[in-house]
Amino acid sequence: MAKKRMVQAINEGIAEEMARDPSIVLFGEDVEVSPIGDTRNLFERFGPARVRNTPISETVMTGMAVGAAAAGYRVICHLFYGNFIYTGFDAIANQAAKLRYMLGGQIRLPITFMAVIGGGRSVAAQHSDSMHPTLMNLGGVKVVMPGSPGDAKGLIKSSIRDDSPVFFLQAAGRGGESGEVPDGEYVIPLGKAIILRPGSNVTVVAIGSMVKPAQRACDELAKAGVSAELIDPRCVMPFDFDTVVDSVKRTGRLVIVDEARRTCSAASEIAATVTERTFGTLRAPARRVTVEDVAMPYSPILEKAVIPDHLRIMEAVRGLMQ
């Protein structure tokens, strides 16, 4: 166990997997120089056959990931900014998410699509989306969103080992945050949430980039005598509803914090399903704390206003407690 930055943890996880499984290949735009840092030195270590820079051609890259996986390789396709998922979306939605199904299970598609998502760094609307709800709705892809460096390592390793297409979505701008990262073999099963702090008055589910402000909100609420249970789902597809339902049955209240836009956000789906399963025990309607239905603005003062922070989370919790 040592303190590491999130990008180091991800890098370590990829390197460990590539060392243990020679069928893993990694490709993407600028993976060699690694502007994000998560693929740093992999080219030097594993060579040009297994680590390849690509042209900026997401349309063919996502299709190639499917073709190479169907032909027997374990593929990591780095798409850089999450918004470029849209550029390569045809092969994601029409091939990766459906080909195994359409072919009656003849193939496995072990693909990890990597991207950084979300706002907070003044890169404006075309580099700041949180598109995990779009991916959740495809049905045939898993969606992983780590909230800490340690989880990032355990989750990238299990994403790569998974035989289905997985989107590993790191919160943009959080790669430099440090945390304890277990050494060596450390694998977190996909679809298993973690209770970050126990509580009795309200359940707070925070996704990806929202874990950190939610932690701060819970700390401050505790000082005011409100005991919040904080859950990081870590994976939004499949989603660990059992852990959240179990918590809500104890607390009777639910707040979901999600950087997606409100309409059809992950928060909406979680609110609906958990409400269906806990209606009798809920003391108040579930609340969503999300970005409103706007694009991400550029100016820092506007962006700060749009992205949920600890104050908005606390406000939502207080609203439920009244």
């Binding site: 349309t59 299709g63 073709g67 032909a71 003849q106």
Partner: protein
């Protein structure tokens, strides 16, 4: 509004194109030509039966037939083994059969039955048999191009000399993914053969109205060899494909082949029941029928001494094979409803 002339589907004839070198070209033996003829006849007989069955209302979904285009599938696939990959498009029955796909299970798939090659979950537009290197027909125009490029990359990594062939239409040649694939195939020297089956129509639009220039020339700026062949001459296709595939197996990279052919049936069966007007004249179809590939191959075989009795024997065998396949499909059970909920994830 000006009355628009119905366009001739292919303005230029194959002899305008960069020719495959005749001098160095090997001759197809009579035995090989006969095998390719038999394969084309199997595809033709199967698809004409599908047309009939579709018209009777017995098929659950649409079918896109390749009648008139059989020489492309046959001339390319005789060079391939089960360890080579193909990807195809919505008009994929011929490619599937040419790559040794199982006929009864293909028909059962089109009928949506449990015995179908995809368990009834894919249908006509998704017939695939991965054990035979058939990564599938594909319902997205151009969808097979990325998959084939990835499969070619996988084979390059494996290093066993296997290749990937992408069959796509002239319509797909207007998808951006073709240019992205050409670029990356050239840079990485991928064992990828892009076979553009130019059948004259992009769905319901004559090629000349939607496609600028000549498709085979689109390889040139990338440094990828491009050539056009008469796609109705199975020997010409076989020869061009042989050169391209040998080149790919040797590690020398990709080739784009434009095989010029003609779609004798519609984009999709029964299309005139929903189109507001015709997009080609019957006279054009009839004129093209004189150049269809089976007749051309048969003429060559007759010149080589194949007798009418031999042809009759082949026809009877193929007919029996097709009869058996349709019988198998029609008698097969529907899939269990629970199977709708399997295979989303591994």
């Amino acid at each position: 509004m000006e009355n628009m002339r119905l366009h001739s589907s292919t303005d230029r004839q194959p002899n305008d194109a960069a020719p495959a070198s005749e001098a160095a070209a090997p001759a197809a033996t009579t035995e090989l030509l006969l095998a390719m003829y038999r394969l084309m006849l199997l595809i033709r007989t199967t698809e004409e039966r599908l047309a009939k069955v579709q018209a009777s209302g017995a098929l659950p979904g649409p079918v896109h037939l390749s009648v008139g285009q059989e020489a492309v599938a046959a001339g390319v696939c005789v060079h391939l083994t089960d360890r080579d990959w193909i990807t195809s498009n919505h008009r994929g029955h011929g490619h599937f059969l040419a790559k040794s796909g199982d006929l009864p299970r293909m028909i059962a798939e089109v009928f949506g039955r449990a015995t179908g090659v995809c368990g009834g979950k894919g249908g006509s537009m998704h017939v695939a048999d991965v054990s035979k290197g058939i990564l599938g027909a594909n319902g997205i125009v151009g969808g097979g191009i990325g998959l084939g490029t990835g499969a070619a990359w996988a084979e390059q990594l494996r290093g066993d000399g296997n290749v990937a062939v992408v069959f796509f239409g002239d319509g797909a040649a207007n998808q951006g993914v073709m240019f992205e694939a050409l670029n990356i195939a050239a840079l990485w020297k991928l064992p990828l053969i892009l076979v553009c089956e130019n059948n004259g129509f992009s769905e319901f639009s004559p090629s000349a109205t939607v496609t600028a220039g000549e498709i085979w020339r689109r390889a040139e700026p990338f440094g990828v060899p491009g050539l056009a062949v008469d796609g109705n001459d199975v020997v010409a296709v076989w020869r061009a494909a042989g050169t391209a595939i040998a080149r790919a197996r040797a590690g020398a990279g990709s080739t784009l082949i434009e095989a010029r052919t003609y779609r004798l049936r519609g984009h999709v069966e029964a299309e005139m029941t929903f189109l507001s007007k015709a997009y080609r004249e019957d006279a054009e179809i009839e004129a093209r029928r004189a150049h269809e590939p089976l007749m051309q191959a048969r003429r060559k075989l007759e010149q080589a001494g194949i007798t009418a009795a031999t042809f009759a024997g082949i026809e009877a065998e193929v007919l029996a094979q097709v009869d058996d396949a349709f019988k198998f499909a029609e008698e097969s059970p529907w899939p269990a409803v629970e199977s709708a909920y399997t295979h989303m994830f591994s």
